[in-house]
């Protein structure tokens, strides 16, 4: 039996052999691997790029105090970006499943339409949810827009739900019974996060404090964006990546406040708009920053 970590090793190995940079998880809280700069910013512009990384993804509202066998506050996504998407992208993907021992002649694979949209990121794409014997194991998306910008090169994004995939391969009904490493279960490693973060997110997070933090991070991102000058000769130095971290902080705070039941209907639309404005602002500045400055062109 392959452990959780072995499955991750094999998938990383598989994609490394196909030209992907293997990145480590991004060190700011995100709701999905898509939000990491390695995806959100790298898909912009005309430079080809291939990357794979495991990203712990936090969804405060999905927490269940470690009680529910299928639902997690924090789950692990394997995020693969192939930019531009190669012609044989689906073959490559199916090959990755075979690499972790799934015999696709004896299992049922279906590609069912599932388009993806993230309003807070000004991003959308079309694609499928990939079903393996009735289980959704991967989200497959051809990005079309990001940060409100039509993409130059169309990347394929593959997002594997690693806990699900492992539960399938290990034939486990509860995610907590997955074997993470020989003799160590997923529950041994992660149960405490699930319990304690559920308590925090649903019961103890201080709403006033979180709002203050939201305002502070928003203010810092907005301050930086305002200072970005597309005409500046040294615009490459400008810390847009740092500004983007502030946006990610806002997004996670919004999710936590939401799971705490602290966001009213009237506020909700407005807060989403505030995050979106910053995310789109960073994306557009980033796209500009990738272009040589006007002065350099003149030289």
């Amino acid at each position: 039996m392959q452990s959780f970590q072995e499955i991750i090793f094999k998938l990383k190995q598989y994609w490394a052999e196909r030209g992907c940079i293997i990145q480590e998880p991004y060190d700011v809280e995100v709701g999905a691997g898509t939000m990491c700069p390695e995806t959100f910013l790298r898909v912009l512009g005309a430079r080809p790029y291939r990357v794979a990384y495991v990203q712990p993804s936090r969804r405060p509202a999905d927490g269940r105090y470690g009680d529910n066998p299928n639902r997690l506050y924090k789950h692990s996504q394997l995020q693969v970006i192939l930019k531009p998407s190669p012609e044989d992208v689906i073959e490559l993907y199916l090959g990755s499943l075979e690499a972790i021992g799934i015999d696709l002649r004896a299992h049922d694979i279906k590609f069912e339409e599932d388009n993806w949209e993230a309003p807070t990121l000004g991003a959308w794409g079309v694609g499928w949810q990939v079903m393996l014997d009735g289980l959704e194991i991967t989200q497959f998306t051809y990005f079309q827009q990001c940060g409100g910008i039509d993409l130059e090169l169309v990347p394929a994004e593959l997002t594997y739900g690693l806990e699900r995939l492992t539960a399938f391969l290990q034939v486990r009904d509860s995610v907590y019974d997955i074997e993470w490493a020989p003799g160590v279960s997923y529950g041994d490693v992660r149960y405490n996060d699930e319990l304690q973060y559920s308590v925090y997110n649903f019961e103890m997070a201080d709403i006033g404090t979180l709002w203050k933090l939201f305002d502070l991070h928003e203010g810092e991102a907005a301050r930086l964006l305002k200072l970005y000058d597309p005409k500046a000769a040294d615009k490459r130095r400008f810390p847009l990546l740092a500004a983007y971290d502030q946006v990610l902080k806002c997004s996670n705070l919004f999710n936590t406040l939401d799971s705490r039941g602290a966001i009213s209907v009237t506020e909700r639309v407005g807060v989403i708009q505030r995050v979106r404005k910053l995310a789109v602002g960073v994306a557009q500045a980033w796209a500009d920053q990738q272009q040589p400055a006007a002065v350099e062109v003149a030289e």
Binding site: K110, V126, D133, G134, Q144, E152, S264, T266, V269
Partner: protein, 645 residues
């Protein structure tokens, strides 16, 4: 020589529900090329759109074209120049007499173009013109758009490749088999194409895939579901049906929940026992030929078990907080950004229920109607909103009228579906829909063309259907909130309902609606009367006479104001007889008087000149006609009836 033509567009998995529309579209685009052919066959799997035609000519027929040159009077040099340009000798030219004079001309033989060339030139455009509801680009910004990336193209006329390139793909003679069971490149000809595909685990014909699934389910008491079957037929290239089972203890959960999980989330057919009750089994369709080890069955069973466990967990958790205790939580659920929360909607609905004459039970149902939106079960299975609320209300001891009203509140979801089963439910469903319609129209969210994101057409159609079929006598015009656009919107739905759904003739609907369409129960009665009257011999002639009356009144710009009717001005004979007949029959239903009225009207028009020289007489006649028209126009404006005469 006539040739077979084969076009296969190899695509990454196309959304199942778009495939048939795309095929029909492709057929029309091909027909528009006007290349002669015999039969056309269309086929598709998720990965290929296929057009096959027989009997295409190798080339178009040759044709002749007359080319006109200089005038007969032109100098020889000009004539010679023209001949040279056309590649003939001057003596080959003839002089033709045209309307403009005499001209040199010449009959040019134009060789028919090769069909292969025509196809090669037009197929890229044909393919890219196929309509899909949502398209993508994949070769880079500004590149071609299609539903999903095109990966190969087969284009054969006879044995020859029709050469073209599209989105970086060159047409050829190589198809692809099943993703994992077939070869990636298979050389084919139009003759062996379908057979070769089958060798590589692709069943080209949707009918054959359907028959295969149904054949494998013989003996299984599955609940027929044509829409689900269609989905599965277009989601697979080599479908095989299997059955699986689940723990019978899940049958304690409401059947609605189990069936929804199986159908909407897992695409399984439900199975019944001999008594028609839900059995702890399901039927699934996989995209491979067999499951000898039971991997696929067991995998699906585990997924279903997890889903059912979730549902049971939600069901039990939700019961800990009654619907009635959830009303305030609706403040946190958005109805629509500009229209506020579901708490606000609930308050408006309660008001509407009272306006509609709802009793206390209807008010109670409206108060609780949206509370299930805060439950875990509905968050997970949104398509069960309403149903779940109804089930919880029943479990929490609400009276039958109340829980049924909550259960049925979204009905009818289409024009075929039944309306809510009791009056309380009808009132609540009306209040819900009317609130949505009034709200959306108020903030400018009005459907345009095919864009109707809030499903307002369906809501308005539901209002019309409930008013008619529930025999609710509330005037429809009281439900527009004074919005003129909403009034027009309802008018369209009323027309559609009676004409397209109930099958009344369009002119009868126009005639009846012209006499009013606010009380829809009354409108239905009048439409039925007109339908029954129509075949009677006096009807159409009388309708024609009414049209004539209306025209006369319009031409005279007669408003009827001012002068009172004066019986002493009536001429003896047809005019007076018509008046007397009118007096006898006024107030009686048209059915019982039509046979007496018609001859009098006919005779009047036969003998009497309405446009009499004496202005007073003329005025009086117009008044008589107007009175007559008004008397019988309460059921319909008969001048709207299209007659043969």
């Amino acid at each position: 020589m006539s040739l077979p033509f084969l076009l296969e567009i190899g695509v990454e998995e196309i959304p199942d529900w778009m495939i048939r529309g795309a095929l029909e579209n492709l057929r029309l685009l091909f027909e528009k090329l006007e290349i002669p052919h015999d039969s056309v066959t269309m086929d598709a799997t998720p990965r290929r759109l296929v057009l096959r035609a027989d009997g295409l000519p190798e080339r178009q027929a040759d044709r002749e074209e007359r080319v006109t040159g200089p005038a007969a009077s032109a100098p020889a040099q000009a004539v010679g120049g023209f001949a040279r340009k056309q590649g003939v000798k001057p003596e080959d030219l003839t002089v033709e007499t045209t309307a403009k004079g005499k001209y040199y001309s010449f009959v040019k033989k134009v060789a028919g173009r090769r069909t292969k060339d025509i196809l090669a030139e037009s197929l890229p455009g044909v393919i890219l013109q196929i309509y899909f509801p949502k398209t993508m680009y994949w070769t880079g910004k500004g590149g071609p758009r299609f539903i999903r990336p095109i990966r190969w193209i087969v284009a054969l006329l006879g044995e020859e490749i029709v050469p073209f390139a599209l989105a970086g793909v060159r047409s050829g003679a190589l198809t692809a088999g099943h993703r994992r069971l077939g070869a990636k490149e298979i050389a084919i000809t139009p003759a062996d194409y379908e057979e070769r595909l089958k060798d590589h685990y692709v069943i080209l014909s949707a009918e054959a895939r359907r028959d295969k699934i149904l054949g494998e389910l013989v003996g299984v008491r599955f609940r027929p579901d044509p829409a689900l079957l269609d989905t599965l037929v277009y989601l697979t290239e080599y479908p095989t049906a299997i059955t699986g089972s689940f723990d019978a203890q899940f049958l304690e959960l409401p059947e609605e929940v189990l069936v929804t999980v199986m159908r909407h989330h897992q695409k399984y057919f439900s199975v019944e026992d001999a008594e028609g009750r839900l059995a702890p089994q399901f039927a699934a369709v996989m995209n491979i030929p067999s499951d000898p080890e039971g991997f696929v069955r067991r995998g699906n069973e585990r997924v279903l078990r997890a889903r059912f466990n979730d549902a049971r967990f939600f069901w039990e958790t939700d019961q800990k907080k009654k619907l009635a205790d959830r009303v305030q939580d609706l403040a946190h659920v958005t109805f629509q950004a500009k229209l506020g929360s579901y708490l606000e909607k609930t308050e408006r609905m309660v008001g509407l229920v009272r306006d509609l004459g709802g009793e206390e039970q209807a008010v109670r149902a409206a108060e609780l109607a949206k509370c299930d939106l805060t439950t875990e079960l509905v968050k997970e299975f949104t398509e069960l909103q309403g149903v779940v609320g109804g089930l919880y209300a029943r479990a929490q001891g609400e009276p039958e009228a109340v829980w049924q009203a909550i259960y049925d509140q979204y009905k009818p979801e289409n024009i075929e579906e039944a309306i809510p089963r009791n009056r309380t439910g009808q009132i609540v469903a009306l209040a819900d829909k009317v609130d949505t319609l009034q709200g959306c129209f108020r903030v400018g969210l009005i459907p345009s063309g095919s864009r109707d994101p809030f499903a307002l057409r369906r809501a308005a159609q539901g209002v019309v259907k409930i008013l008619v079929e529930g025999e609710v006598r509330t005037p429809l015009l009281n439900l527009t909130g004074g919005d003129a656009q909403l009034k027009d919107f309802f008018e369209d739905r009323v027309r559609y309902y009676f004409r397209d759904f109930r099958g009344f003739k369009y002119d009868e609907v126009n005639a009846a609606m012209a006499a009013g369409w606010s009380d829809l129960v009354d409108l239905l009665e009048r439409l039925e009367r007109i339908r029954d009257l129509r075949p009677t011999p006096d009807f159409e002639p009388l309708a024609a006479s009414f049209k004539r009356i209306r025209n006369i009144l319009e031409q005279a710009q007669f408003t009827g104001g001012g002068v009172a009717f004066d019986a002493s001005l009536l001429e003896p004979g047809p005019e007076r007889e018509l008046y007397e007949e009118y007096q006898r029959i006024a107030g009686q239903p048209i059915e019982s008087v039509i046979s007496r009225l018609r001859p009098k009207v006919d005779l009047f028009f036969d003998k009497i000149l309405v446009n009499a020289p004496d202005a007073r007489v003329r005025q009086n006649r117009l008044t008589l006609l107007k009175t007559l028209l008004a008397e019988f126009s309460t059921i319909a404006d008969f001048s709207e009836i299209v007659t043969n005469s």
